[in-house]
């Protein structure tokens, strides 16, 4: 028996080498087209995350074939599951083995790794040549977007647009009707609505088990996603970072911030929001709402069409609606802005070796923004994915369309921030309408366009001081003096440097 183990090992060594086929390092094959020769398709390599449970299918894909024909290219993309994307990207960058086109996610774009790589010349300067590509130039008609993606005032890739007014208040419209209330339009009305939802038994089940507002704190000082920034902006305050007297200040140093926290504190005491807000992780932030036990939440509007399937199963008569931007004490309507992008497509100089190759890639994207390509990626091919009915496209094979376009078109291709199709559900239409509406009232976060090395180095770590203090304040375990003390600690542990760095960057590159 032991002999056969030895034999086994020998066999496996042989077998294993069979599987070692493909061990060539294939990260950057040479571009097959000769300079200036437009007949052979231009092959380019890419690196991209994917979000679904399988990678996008690139072979036998009718949509991709059409794109490759139209643009005379051949795409060879390495995909990584989003769950591991960040780590792999860091390693690939660290070993300087980037392919030609890399998807750099919004959460990574301004981190030390990318910024240093950009500053040391790893990526092509797209901003400098943008005007040579009228298609792309016209596609981005939003100066804030380009500014937010800049590093030291330069644009090192093609930004991927996303809705700018992406956070809003979502509420149970059926509860509002049941209690005969109006849609809240100010912070004060928000409080009163929450009170009614919590105390007046809106689901008429005789039990006092509802919570007015589901609050889920997040672990970053930037409070965009949990409503704090939205409320502060509605009071006329700043969105995480703003300029006061020429200096950059964070919102937790302003009076409006404490006003909002005090409101939440009151709501906590009156049990108008969930007691475990400091602990809600991940998807748990929708749990009470999806159970039909909470009336409102502030969150990403993009989630509204998709995250509440469970709610409809528990309460089939539930109706959701999105509240428009609040009005502040001075009569203005303001809403917190998101960066408006989810990173960029960046082109590494190690793989895109010549300017001619760079031009070919830019040509590719210039063609992608053509209406014909955009329609292709939204609806697919007539006869295969959709049919024309009454002059409008109607999807006949939605699953095939999803398989052939979803992950790759939304990540690797340039698409507009808001993509509307005829097949949108009512709630999706409401969401898109909210996006368009919010755009009018946004207050940008000035730090989105700026860089601070200290923030990159220890921002996440010292932000925790503020998060911890804010949670304790809302729970009543810390008073105003205690909170101010936490802010002072933030300042001494690097916050002062961050403020100075943002101030300096703002003077040089800021959006005035």
């Amino acid at each position: 028996m032991k002999r056969s183990i030895v034999a086994f090992v020998v066999v496996l060594a042989v077998a294993g080498s069979v599987f070692a086929a493909g061990s060539k390092d294939g990260s950057s094959p040479a571009a097959s087209a000769k300079d200036g020769n437009t007949e052979k398709p231009f092959a380019f390599t890419g690196f991209s995350p994917f979000y679904l449970q399988q990678p996008p299918k690139m072979e036998n894909n009718s949509v991709i074939k059409k794109i490759e024909e139209y643009t005379n290219t051949k795409m060879r993309i390495d995909y990584v599951p989003y769950a591991n994307y960040r780590d792999k990207l860091n390693v690939v960058i660290a070993s300087a083995q980037l392919p030609m086109v890399t998807v750099v996610d919004g959460s990574i774009l301004k981190t030390g790794n990318i910024v240093n790589a950009a500053r040391s010349g790893m990526f092509w300067d797209v901003g400098a040549v943008l005007k040579n590509y009228p298609g792309i130039d016209g596609f981005y008609n939003n100066g804030i977007l380009l500014a937010n993606c800049s590093i030291d005032g330069k644009l090192y890739g093609l930004p991927r647009p996303r809705p700018v007014g992406r956070v809003g208040l979502v509420y149970r419209a059926d509860w509002l009707k049941a209690l005969n209330l109006k849609v809240p339009t100010t912070m004060q009305e928000f409080y009163e609505t929450a009170k009614a939802f919590a105390l007046n038994d809106p689901d008429k089940n005789g039990k006092n088990d509802t919570v007015g507002y589901q609050f889920a704190d997040t672990d970053s000082a930037s409070p965009s996603w949990n409503g704090i920034a939205t409320l502060i902006c509605s009071l006329g305050g700043i969105n995480y970072w703003g300029i006061k007297d020429g200096k950059a200040v964070p919102d937790f140093m302003t009076a409006e911030y404490l006003d909002v926290l005090s409101l939440f504190r009151k709501m906590y005491q009156e049990k108008l929001l969930n007691m475990d807000f400091g602990l809600a992780l991940g998807n748990k932030r929708y749990e009470m709402f999806n159970k039909g036990l909470a009336g409102m939440y502030f969150g990403t509007l993009s989630d509204v069409p998709n995250q509440h399937g469970d709610l409809y199963k528990v309460v089939p008569t539930a109706e959701l609606a999105i509240a428009p931007a609040f009005t502040g004490p001075k009569g203005q309507r303001t809403n917190a802005a998101n960066p408006g992008h989810n990173g960029m497509l960046m082109f590494s100089k190690t793989a895109v070796k010549t300017e001619a190759d760079f031009k070919k890639i830019m040509d590719f994207y210039n063609k992608i923004v053509d209406p014909e390509m955009q329609k292709l990626m939204t609806y697919g091919i007539e006869g295969t994915h959709f049919a024309v009915e009454n002059g409008k496209p109607k999807l006949i094979n939605a699953k095939l369309l999803q398989d052939e376009t979803a992950d790759f078109s939304n990540i690797l291709m340039l698409r507009p921030a808001v993509v509307e199709t005829v097949a949108d559900s009512p709630i999706k239409k409401a969401m898109n309408a909210a996006f368009r509406d919010n755009e009018k009232y946004i207050v940008p976060n000035i730090a989105d366009a700026l860089l601070s090395p200290t923030a990159a180095e220890r921002g996440g770590e010292i932000d925790k001081i503020i998060v911890d203090a804010r949670v304790k304040f809302i729970m009543g375990e810390l008073d105003e003096a205690g909170f101010k003390k936490a802010v002072a600690e933030w300042v001494t542990r690097g916050g002062d440097k961050i403020m100075a760095e943002y101030t300096e960057q703002n003077q040089k590159y800021g959006v005035k």
Partner: protein, 292 residues
């Protein structure tokens, strides 16, 4: 010889049985909860946190897992990686453990020190990646087997076990003119079966659960082991990426019950190995070997 023959105190035996049964139950109950949750409908789970008998059984979560061709295929990949990986592990570890267990081997101390040192200091992910890349192992299964071929921890323990084997048995082979190789094959390995079984289990589980190295070193999606997909599904169903919801329709975001199905899926195959391995943990392997 069974334990009961060793002494008369049945009171202890009863207490022992009860205690161990309760410990086993404490370990088992959460798993049973997970198993039941995986076949419950999401809305029932949402409303009643703990479900003992689901009012409606639904295999939707498992259907979702199998909804792509690539996921069942990756199961085969995982098995392949685990089986061959463990064979490499055990052979290399035993091959090195035996010489290190011989107390009069010259250079034993420095060698052991060299091994122990690697448990404390390591170059990290990126230097290792660069080494693997420069050996042209990228995109091959060898990148998953070689960099983790020997666990220093297991090596030290195995050496320990080898040391405990009575010298008389080794001398017996030497007297008959046998060499070290024959000692290893005919004496050491058979008598260390419980240890070999234990380490095989450790290595196998390590291979089965690993995913990050696959992501790092292997480009072809159809060579990825199942853990890669399972992790992605868990992240998807916990609403991990808001960008994703912007592009997929409701049916394509897995519900919360899928997480539970994923756990069952990832765990059960390994649990099924154990009963087969268990017999190697039986006592009495040494009986009859030292005579005369």
């Amino acid at each position: 010889m069974s334990a009961s023959k060793r002494s008369q105190s049945t009171g202890f035996e009863i207490f022992n049985r009860i205690f161990l049964f309760m410990a086993a139950a404490a370990c088992l109950l959460p798993f049973i909860y997970v198993a039941i949750a995986s076949i419950t409908t999401p809305e029932e789970l949402l409303v009643k946190k703990v479900v003992l008998i689901p009012s409606q059984v639904s295999f939707a979560a498992y259907q979702y897992i199998f909804s792509t061709k690539i996921i069942p295929q990756s199961l085969g990949v995982s098995v392949f990686i685990t089986v061959f990986g463990t064979l490499i592990n055990i052979s290399m570890t035993a091959l090195m453990a035996y010489p290190l267990s011989r107390k009069n081997l010259r250079g034993r101390r420095p060698l052991l020190l060299m091994v122990v040192f690697t448990m404390l200091f390591n170059g990290g992910m990126i230097p290792t990646y660069l080494v693997v890349s420069s050996l042209h192992l990228l995109n091959s299964f060898w990148a998953l087997w070689l960099p983790t071929a020997i666990s220093a921890f297991n090596l030290i323990l195995m050496r320990n076990f080898f040391q405990e084997i009575p010298n008389e048995l080794i001398e017996a082979v030497k007297i008959d003119g046998g060499n070290d190789w024959q000692i290893l094959i005919n004496v050491i390995l058979p008598l260390s079966l419980p240890a070999i079984a234990a380490f095989s289990l450790f290595y196998a589980v390590g291979h089965w659960n690993s995913f990050f190295n696959a992501i790092l070193y292997i480009k072809d999606a159809d060579k990825w082991p199942i853990q890669v997909w399972l992790r992605q599904i868990v992240l998807l169903s916990s609403g991990g990426f808001s960008d994703a919801s912007a592009m997929s329709e409701v049916e394509y975001i897995p519900s919360v019950t899928t997480q539970y199905a994923v756990i069952i899926f990832a765990t059960v195959p390994v649990l099924m190995i154990y009963p087969f391995v268990q017999k190697y943990f039986a006592k009495g392997v040494l009986v009859g070997s030292v005579k005369g």
